[in-house]
């Protein structure tokens, strides 16, 4: 497993956080497209909304850091296959309900919390630790917000993944 290089400065650390949001947002946008192609409008719109939200987080970080160009984040790599907030393509189902999508989002936010808490607990300079704790706190708030959203969304009905029709052939 590749080890994530520990950030030595707040600048480096916030670059990780920024990339995380970029990847999360881009992934949600891709998922919105692919669910739309499969006529799952509700979930497509939900993913599009999540893409916008993550996009805002991304922009907030850039604004906070006063960046005018993308930070060079090529130096590190995730320990997990993809970023902590990035949804795995394999977790989708063409008939998935908004509840499923929000559960995935909640999972993403929780992993983000853990990611930042690990940095805070690691051997990093004090200002990086402070930044990590702050980010962890923000992600916890995101978890809470998704939780509220989830509460408003009906749980999936039994048989949500039943399609009476067999797969179609296109070639």
């Amino acid at each position: 497993m590749k080890k994530t290089k520990l950030p030595r400065t707040v600048e480096e650390f916030m670059a990780y956080a920024w990339v995380m949001e970029v990847e999360a947002s881009d992934r949600y946008a891709e998922l919105a497209d692919l669910m739309a192609t499969h006529h799952n409008r509700e979930v497509s719109e939900l993913f599009a909304k999540l893409a916008r939200i993550e996009g805002k987080h991304r922009d907030q970080i850039a604004a906070q850091m006063g960046w005018t160009r993308a930070p060079d984040a090529a130096v590190f790599r995730w320990e997990t296959p993809e970023g902590p907030e990035t949804t795995d393509f394999g977790d989708l189902h063409y008939l998935m309900q908004p509840w499923h999508a929000l559960k995935l989002a909640e999972h993403n936010e929780r992993r983000a919390v853990e990611f930042f808490e690990r940095f805070a607990a690691a051997r990093v300079p004090a200002d990086v630790r402070a930044a990590a704790l702050e980010m962890a706190g923000e992600e916890r708030e995101h978890v809470r917000l998704i939780g509220e959203w989830l509460a408003k969304v009906p749980p999936p009905e039994p048989g949500w993944d039943e399609d009476m029709d067999p797969p179609a052939v296109a070639d």
């Binding site: 881009d26 692919l34 192609t37 930070p71 393509f89 394999g90």
Partner: protein, 283 residues
């Protein structure tokens, strides 16, 4: 077009992975592993700063063979099983292009099997990415050469009873110069493997485990079974062969990075005017 624009704009000359994707939306099922390949391929191309206009993605027939339309590079969606032949022809006629051949296990190892063997022998400098889901997806679920012997299907009830095709073994013994295995659930690892494959001279073969959510939903378990970085590259064929004897089919990484010179036409070459050939006929 992704309307989520990044306010912190990238440096002018640099392209991001999204610049390597076309605006055609894939029709693959949600959950399909092939999405990961598009992203990994785009990421690899961006990392290498390739010009999309100088890249050609060549494919055959099948779900994964739809990839050319989803990339911003030039694409060739040919007939079933012949992508390697088309790709070889393109690369030999136009050695300046980066040729990437893509397809599935059915297209590549069944009808394309003969061409696979000879592409490894011929060692033309191109990269072959096979998205292996161990099934014929596009025609609704028949066994492919890499399907397990007891997998039940309508065309082969109770399974084929046949030993699975071993793509890495065939590639090694036939002379492929670079052999690797990736997994769509590890797109960053796959992007690195693809980059190394494209950079490596000669015929580079990347077998990619790519789960089929519709016809092989049990392949969701693959992410628990794969071992990243389990293969370490060697230039020694014997070592690579011994390594393959222990292969479970789920170890990821680069198995072999050889030193065979890539295919090049032999003998002296020139650029004389055609009329000089008349000397052969003139009495």
């Amino acid at each position: 077009m992704n309307e989520i624009a990044c306010n912190a704009a990238p440096a002018p000359a640099m392209r991001g992975p999204n610049d390597y994707k076309s605006d055609v939306k894939p029709v693959w099922c949600p959950g399909c592993g092939d999405f990961g390949v598009v992203n990994a391929l785009a990421k690899a191309m961006a990392k290498m700063a390739l010009e999309p206009k100088d890249v050609a993605v060549v494919s055959g027939i099948g779900c994964s063979s739809r990839i050319p339309a989803y990339m911003a590079s030039y694409g060739f969606h040919g007939v079933h099983g012949r992508a390697l032949a088309a790709g070889a022809g393109l690369k030999v006629a136009r050695p300046d292009l980066t040729v990437i051949v893509t397809g599935g296990d059915g297209d590549g190892y069944s009808i394309g099997g003969n061409h696979f063997l000879h592409a490894c022998r011929r060692n033309v400098d191109m990269t072959y990415i096979v998205m292996d889901n161990r099934v014929y997806g596009m025609t609704k679920g028949q066994p492919s050469p890499t399907t397990e012997p007891d997998w039940d299907s309508k065309l082969s009830p109770d399974g084929t009873g046949l030993r699975e095709f071993q793509p890495l073994v065939i590639a090694l013994t036939s002379g492929a110069n670079f052999i690797a295995r990736g997994f769509t659930g590890d797109p960053n690892g796959l992007a690195e493997i693809i980059e190394r494959a494209v950079r490596h001279p000669g015929f580079s073969f990347v077998e990619v485990l790519s789960p089929c959510v519709t016809f092989r939903p049990e392949q969701k378990e693959w992410k628990k079974v794969v071992k990243a970085d389990a293969l370490k590259p060697t230039a020694d064929m014997t070592r690579a062969a011994r390594r393959l004897l222990r292969d479970t089919g789920f170890e990821l990484g680069v198995l072999y990075a050889g030193e065979r010179p890539p295919y090049a036409p032999r003998g002296p070459r020139a650029r004389r005017p055609p009329s000089e050939l008349e000397a052969r006929f003139a009495l």
